[in-house]
């Protein structure tokens, strides 16, 4: 074959794909490129799954919610505005999907069972060198007693480590407002703890 300008191999372009910026992939996805969106999902699927898991506290349901939410995100990708943070935009769709499933589940169970749902156990594995298991269980249960939006703010900030900039994007508020929203959520948590889990405010269990 005649040789002209050498081109990078397909394999190296495959590697390049993984180094593409989210913005490039988002632009391609907005043009209908499903493969570009697939790569975006690959990058963000862990966060999406964890967010859904925190809401639903069940791995199978979280998987369903995350998948459904990600498909919805693709359908809505053209509404994503360039220059904004992508992760909070994506997480909002996934979390809304998880919350919808959560509400549906709660509507579908009797009152007694609802209590059982609220008391869903901790994930099977807790590093007890970091926090005592019983204390972890009580904090976990107290968080479940918060209102949806308060709970989600706590999850995003402390469990998914979203910086304030992205949290502001998620909440649709100024960055300066994020601290007060977090403080308000923690204040509500304190009220719950005082009423239901006062031992958390005593000596370390």
């Amino acid at each position: 074959m005649t040789n002209r300008e050498p081109t990078p191999s397909l394999r190296s372009r495959l590697c390049e794909r993984t180094s593409l910026q989210d913005e490039t992939l988002i632009a391609a996805a907005q043009q209908g490129d499903a493969a570009a969106f697939e790569e975006l999902v690959r990058r963000h699927q862990e966060g999406a799954f964890r967010a859904a898991f925190l809401v639903l506290r069940d791995a199978d349901e979280a998987e369903d919610a995350a998948q459904e939410g990600l498909v919805k995100a693709y359908k809505a990708i053209r509404s994503f505005r360039p220059g904004h943070e992508f992760r909070p935009w994506l997480l909002r769709i996934v979390i809304n999907q998880a919350l919808t499933m959560h509400r549906s589940r709660r509507r579908g169970v009797a009152a007694a069972e609802r209590l059982a749902v609220r008391e869903r156990p901790l994930p099977h594995s807790i590093d007890e060198t970091v926090i005592d298991r019983e204390r972890a269980r009580l904090v976990w249960a107290a968080l479940e007693s918060l209102r949806e939006q308060e709970r989600v703010v706590v999850y995003l900030r402390y469990f998914l480590n979203l910086p304030e900039r992205e949290l502001a994007e998620y909440l649709g508020c100024a960055q300066g407002t994020v601290k007060s929203r977090l403080h308000r959520a923690l204040g509500k948590l304190r009220e719950v703890v005082v009423q239901r889990y006062p031992q958390l405010l005593g000596e370390t269990t």
Binding site: M1, T2, E5, E38, Q45, Q67, H183, L186, L200
Partner: protein
């Protein structure tokens, strides 16, 4: 009160560090499959049949432990071309290579690229030349005979060699019907067995006119930013010889 809030905040932080999340499932390929399925939902009946066949092939491969859905069984080899394995072909899906018969010069003009010709053909002139014009993608198809008389078709397209996005490399390598060929062009694959060939437009939609089935041995490769394909009942060595002789 603030002390209590601080203490709760510390507990939450500790819990977030201590908690072991279940392992996140691999959702990317499944989400992609859902998206593709939604796209084909409004497709004509034979396209729906193709989707079902592709899904069945994927499922079989999955059950057999050979591949995982979407990613491994469907091999997106190049940017605008998709070739995937299938167990059967819908009755009304053609195996014929369609196109408009043109001269070699016309094909080159319409493709907008210089055509490369094999030095290993029985004659330097092709038996016939077709131009396939799928609007956003064009292909010149040159029908030759190998020096042993075996007919084959050489496809030269103006499809870009990927933006690096849709290549499911792992699938290509793991597929029993798509084996990588070393030392030819930038990347090359030897394909055997029953397959569906289709082209995509820039939006990622399948170009209906382009879809056909083939069972002929195929050498697919990229070189110098272009995509080439040889289809015919040639051996792998013969096809590679032809590819190397192009000039």
């Amino acid at each position: 009160m603030q002390q209590e809030i601080d203490r709760l905040e510390r507990d939450i932080t500790l819990l977030s560090r201590a908690i072991a999340f279940p392992e996140a499932p691999s959702l990317a390929s499944r989400v992609r499959s859902r998206i593709e399925a939604d796209r084909t939902r409004r497709a004509p009946s034979w396209q729906l049949a193709l989707t079902a066949i592709a899904a069945a092939a994927v499922a079989l491969a999955f059950i057999a432990g050979v591949a995982s859905p979407a990613r491994d069984a469907i091999a997106d080899l190049f940017d605008r071309i998709n070739i995937f394995e299938t167990a059967e072909v819908p009755k009304d899906l053609t195996r014929e290579i369609s196109g408009t018969q043109v001269t070699l010069e016309e094909a080159e003009a319409r493709l907008g690229l210089p055509l490369l010709l094999p030095g290993d053909a029985a004659t330097t002139e092709p038996d016939r030349v077709l131009i396939q014009d799928f609007r956003s993608v064009k292909a010149a198809v040159l029908f030759f005979r190998h020096s042993d008389g075996t007919p084959y078709a050489l496809f030269e397209t103006n499809a870009p060699v990927g933006k690096g996005l849709p290549i499911a490399g792992k699938g290509v390598l793991s597929s029993s019907q798509a084996q990588p060929v070393r030392g030819l062009g930038d990347e090359a694959y030897w394909l055997t067995g029953l397959r569906i060939v289709q082209y995509y437009d820039p939006s990622g939609a399948v170009i209906r006119d382009s879809v056909r089935a083939t069972e002929e041995n195929t050498l697919l490769w990229s070189a110098n930013g272009r995509v080439f394909r040889i289809e015919g009942n040639l051996t792998q060595e013969q096809a590679i010889g032809i590819a190397r002789s192009l000039k």
